[in-house]
Symmetry: C2
Subunit: 237 residues, 2 copies
């Protein structure tokens, strides 16, 4: 384990467990560098991780402080870190997936463009409904090139595709580009999500990339708007 990650985790634990309380000042960087027996730069790297997560703030000339956020907001921080893989956000409930479609096809122009491949290549076309405690909450269409993600099977779709990619194929997921919109549900969505035409859907369009820079997934997730909301923390600069 890397030093700065260990220190970050230690500080994170101390905040979550209330050892460092809301609005309380953390030890100074130079103090911590002695306490943890590392250089000040290593401390700063650890602290900056928590700043990016929105847990603490630094004030030049004053010190570093635990941010005054509500308790339920602390949860979103964990979500933010594991931003890929959706089942984690419902981890305290029973999450199931029903597979509506699982085919290998050629992509249309739009999908080929998003995945930066040709229309003559082959891709998986997957459609799933996700249930939390037996209530449907999202309908997903996913498109992945078979050359990048070989050997995908139905059982992988029922649990987590990301598990398969990271743990079986040993590929690393690096980033995702997302667009969020609101829309009216289609008739098909009304049926599968068990909603009427007056409940909007929250659409998340995503392209996800591996650490080698290749786009491995294009997906469109349409969430029941009474079951979904997205939280984020923005830090200026």
């Amino acid at each position: 384990m890397l030093k700065y990650k260990e220190i970050a985790q230690d500080l994170r634990d101390k905040i979550v467990n209330g050892i460092y309380k809301v609005n309380e000042q953390l030890p100074f960087e130079r103090e911590m560098s002695i306490d943890y027996d590392v250089s000040r730069i290593t401390i700063r790297k650890a602290v900056d991780l928590l700043v990016a997560e929105g847990l603490i703030v630094k004030r030049r000339g004053s010190g570093t402080f635990v941010k005054d956020i509500n308790d339920d907001e602390a949860i979103e921080i964990a979500m933010k870190k594991q931003f890929l893989g959706f089942s984690t956000t419902h981890s305290d409930h029973k999450v199931k997936s029903k597979i509506i479609k699982f085919k290998i096809v050629n992509p249309d122009e739009k999908i080929a463009n998003k995945l930066k491949i040709g229309t003559d290549e082959f891709i998986y076309h997957v459609e799933r409904i996700r249930y939390s405690d037996n209530i449907p909450y999202v309908m997903e269409k996913t498109f992945m090139p078979i050359t990048l993600i070989p050997g995908l099977q139905k059982k992988n779709l029922e649990s987590s595709v990301y598990d398969y990619i990271e743990n079986v194929l040993k590929l690393k997921i690096q980033s995702s580009h997302r667009t969020i919109r609101a829309d009216v549900p289609t008739e098909k969505e009304q049926k599968y999500l068990k909603i009427d035409r007056y409940l909007p859907v929250l659409e998340v369009e995503q392209v996800a990339f591996l650490s080698n820079g290749q786009a491995f997934e294009y997906s469109i997730s349409r969430h029941r708007s009474d079951k979904a909301e997205f939280k984020m923390i923005n830090i200026k600069e």
Copy 2:
């Protein structure tokens, strides 16, 4: 100007202007540290800024490369940097604001809690409609403590409140916490946004903080879903 910010801006320009093209490799860190005559750590800090913006990717053992994203996605990067202040996203159109309400009141429990003040303190209560090219696209409710933002006037609301806060009051905006949802428009919103009851709204609830850690604004923006979408780039770790 700081060295790492200058270098970051130089690299950003070279990417935007096509001097470094899509998928092209950037000079190595050790090369750049000689070219720019700075230490390698300073180069890394500059490069890491662009990584966070989603413009480039680094691959250990290989090098640093310009990310293969679509042209229109480059725009969102500029948006991301100036994440506060909404008029910037419509900068190429005529943006106007109509003020529906501008009062000083006591906050209810919910608002007081979000702003971390008492219900006996005073706040501005502002409601505005924003127009782009004379088409209404968002209705905003904004609540700000008068002690933090003194002297706010109607003219500040017509242009940008953030300008007033940063340039007149000389306060620094540091972060914001946002929640995004989809919802059905109220009758009032249908009227002001000129939409029917079947067009959903995209709601953004926001608490914004100053660099001293105080919450200075709680706002709810409800966007016409045919005019608004939110883009973001997520980098793992």
